[in-house]
């Protein structure tokens, strides 16, 4: 608590079930103190209203226990990345793949690629987090806005479709699968 208030951190992980105190109170104090360090709230309370409470208290992300460690790392990565001066420009670029948010166009090596609206959202999310591990749950939450765990490999199938559109006919694959964890969009695997 003292450390969180005084130190300067890149990101703070706050557990809700702390001895004698809800981690959210710390987040509230931090925010009241005008401290904008990104906070990931960690909790076994996984219902939607718990999540909402966590985010309303000033948390930037909410992860429900039990979680895969890679999921935590990926989310922390996304949070620290967000902290850096955000690329406010409307153009995202990874290697020779470009995505223009204004006219919703995607080009690889100058050649236009046609994407479905949802595929566009998926790619935009991946590009915004390029070079970082992105988990299936993160994609579900941010691209489809579903907060449940599909029993089938829906996300994998969507990714493989997207991959076939952006990586086919190109020597350098950009969309990589990180085994057991998720995906990564980058020049090197």
């Amino acid at each position: 608590m003292h450390l969180a208030l005084t130190g300067k951190y890149e990101v703070i992980v706050a557990d809700r079930m702390l001895p004698r105190r809800d981690g959210l109170s710390i987040v509230r104090i931090l925010r009241a103190d005008n401290n904008h360090t990104p906070v990931l709230v960690l909790s076994a309370l996984g219902e939607v209203n718990d999540r909402v409470a966590g985010l309303q208290a000033g948390g930037d992300d909410y992860l429900v226990k039990p979680f895969a460690f890679s999921e935590l790392l990926a989310r922390l990565g996304a949070l620290t990345r967000r902290q850096q001066p955000a690329p406010m420009d409307q153009r995202l670029q990874v290697a020779d793949l470009t995505l223009d948010l204004r006219d919703q166009s995607v080009k690889r090596a100058g050649k236009p690629i046609r994407l479905q609206p949802r595929e566009f959202r998926l790619l935009a999310f991946l590009m915004r987090h390029s070079g970082q591990l992105v988990t299936r749950t993160m994609l579900l939450e941010h691209v489809w806005e579903f907060h449940f765990d599909p029993q089938t490999n829906v996300v994998d199938v969507q990714i493989s479709r997207l991959r076939s559109k952006i990586d086919r006919d190109h020597e350098l694959p950009l969309l990589h699968t990180v085994r057991g964890s998720g995906y990564k969009l980058s020049e090197c695997p």
């Binding site: 939607v48 895969a68 949802r118 579903f146 449940f148 765990d149 089938t152 199938v157 057991g180």
Partner: protein, 473 residues
């Protein structure tokens, strides 16, 4: 009985007694106030009456001051005096030298100096001069006195029995008050005892239930009064609690039963890996397998919790107006790729935009589970269609497939937790999908039905139409 148990209430501490006592006090206060008011107004009234009567009598005797001869007045007074004492009238005529000429007063009163000015005033007259059998304590009497031309004096008085009247009233009222006090106390006691008895039955039933007999209920009498209404409510509450506890127990049993085997599998896999030295590649594989196994465990665990929460009837999400059609579109699009991969045509057919009320997350998951089932069990080449149909007072979501369907006898069973049909043994899954759909449906007061599609399975979820701004709880 433990130390925390509150002692049974004493009769004199019951609300009924307190009410009775309070009522008596209020009644007494009102009586006292009324008494004061009555005596005050009586005094004013009788005073005024006496004043006018005395003046009238004087006028009569003196013939409006025209009769001044003492003898004539004496004669007139003798006539008027008949039955004077009985009528509470006092008469006295004395000569100039103070001798009584006529009257029922024995002598001119000396207790108080009475001015002979023809004005009415209330004076105290000593008992010795009052006629016999006069009211004993009524010695304050309105009188009028005047002097005649020859020096004689005339005194007229009118007893109004004021004090006596007041005393009588007070007596009656206090008797009434005493009666009221006794009656109220008796009523309070009876009422208190009756209510105490009713409450004691409820209280003792509660104590039994607390001691662990959850199936016990508060007895309901055939009187159908407010206590029975309360008992009925309490019983309904107890029923719900018992149902929830039963649900919890089921979940615990399920967890114990169905998570134990995968956990054992995970453990033995890891143990076997450790038994002899392996290559790094083998270790990696074992670890990856372990992660996979634990992930499926977590998934099952989460599903169970979600079902339990939905069953418990708590809305985990915010209830919101929800366009079922838009949500169905999103899900069909989401699962479209998977369906295509499985060689199925997944399409949304009819879709009318109607809002329902509910949690988007839960309903999305329920529809997702239905779609996953349809995709999983329909052989390649089949078709899965989704419809959102507006009925009279309901919105119906249908997921139809033309797969093998479910035999009629098994349709009810597949809704139970962990039930997987023999034909589904070879496919992945934990047997919780339809249980969750069922729980979500129940939470939204929706009706889940499975029908034969000739061929295939037709699943329908009938949601009640959105009611105007009414919470679902």
């Amino acid at each position: 009985m433990n130390a925390l148990e509150p002692p049974p209430p004493r009769l004199w501490r019951t609300t009924a007694i307190r009410l009775a006592v309070g009522y008596v006090l209020a009644y007494a206060l009102a009586l006292v106030v009324a008494l004061a008011a009555v005596s005050w107004t009586t005094a004013i009234y009788s005073d005024a009456r006496a004043r006018s009567q005395l003046q009238q009598e004087l006028k009569l005797l003196t013939h409006g001051s025209k009769r001044t001869d003492t003898q004539a007045i004496k004669d007139a007074m003798l006539l008027r005096m008949h039955g004077a004492s009985r009528k509470k009238r006092l008469y006295l005529l004395v000569s100039a030298d103070g001798n009584k000429l006529v009257g029922n007063l024995l002598a001119w009163p000396t207790e108080e100096d009475i001015p002979v000015d023809g004005q009415v005033r209330t004076v105290e007259i000593e008992l010795e001069v009052l006629p016999p059998k006069w009211f004993e304590d009524d010695s304050f009497i309105p009188v009028i006195a005047t002097e005649l031309p020859d020096g004689g004096r005339l005194l007229l008085g009118l007893g109004v029995a004021q004090a006596k009247l007041l005393q009588d009233i007070t007596e009656y009222l206090s008797e009434g008050l005493l009666l009221a006090v006794l009656l109220s106390l008796a009523m309070g006691l009876t009422l208190g005892r009756a209510i105490l008895q009713r409450i004691n039955t409820i209280s003792s039933a509660a104590a039994r239930i607390m001691a662990g007999d959850l199936s016990r209920r508060v007895p309901v009498s055939p009187r159908n009064d407010e206590f029975d209404a309360l008992a009925g409510r309490l019983n309904a509450m107890l029923g719900r609690i018992q149902q929830l506890i039963k649900g919890m127990r089921e979940v615990t049993d399920n967890i114990a039963h169905d998570l134990r085997s995968p956990l054992t599998r995970l453990r033995s896999q890891l143990e076997i890996t450790l038994l002899e030295p392996r290559t790094e590649e083998q270790y990696r594989r074992a670890i990856a397998l372990g992660i996979e196994e634990s992930e499926s465990l977590i998934r099952t665990f989460n599903s169970l919790l979600e079902i339990a929460q939905a069953h418990a009837g708590q809305f985990s999400g915010n209830v919101q107006a929800l366009d079922l059609c838009a949500l169905a579109h999103d899900l069909v699009e989401f699962y479209g790729a998977v369906a295509e991969e499985a060689g199925l045509a997944l399409a949304i057919e009819d879709c009318s935009c109607v809002n329902i009320e509910g949690s988007r997350d839960l309903i999305a998951q329920a529809i997702g589970n239905l779609l996953e089932n349809a995709i999983k069990y329909t052989p390649a080449g089949g078709a899965v269609t989704v419809q959102v149909i507006q009925a009279d007072n309901a919105v119906e979501l249908r997921v139809n497939d033309n797969g093998p369907g479910i035999a009629e006898a098994e349709r009810a069973r597949v809704l139970e937790r962990f039930v997987r049909l023999e034909s589904a043994r070879h496919t992945p899954g934990n047997g919780l999908g339809l249980s969750l759909v069922q729980a979500v449906a129940r939470l939204h007061q929706a009706e889940l039905t499975l029908r034969d599609g000739h061929p295939g399975l037709h699943v329908s979820l009938r949601f009640p139409r959105m009611r105007s701004a009414k919470a679902m709880s």
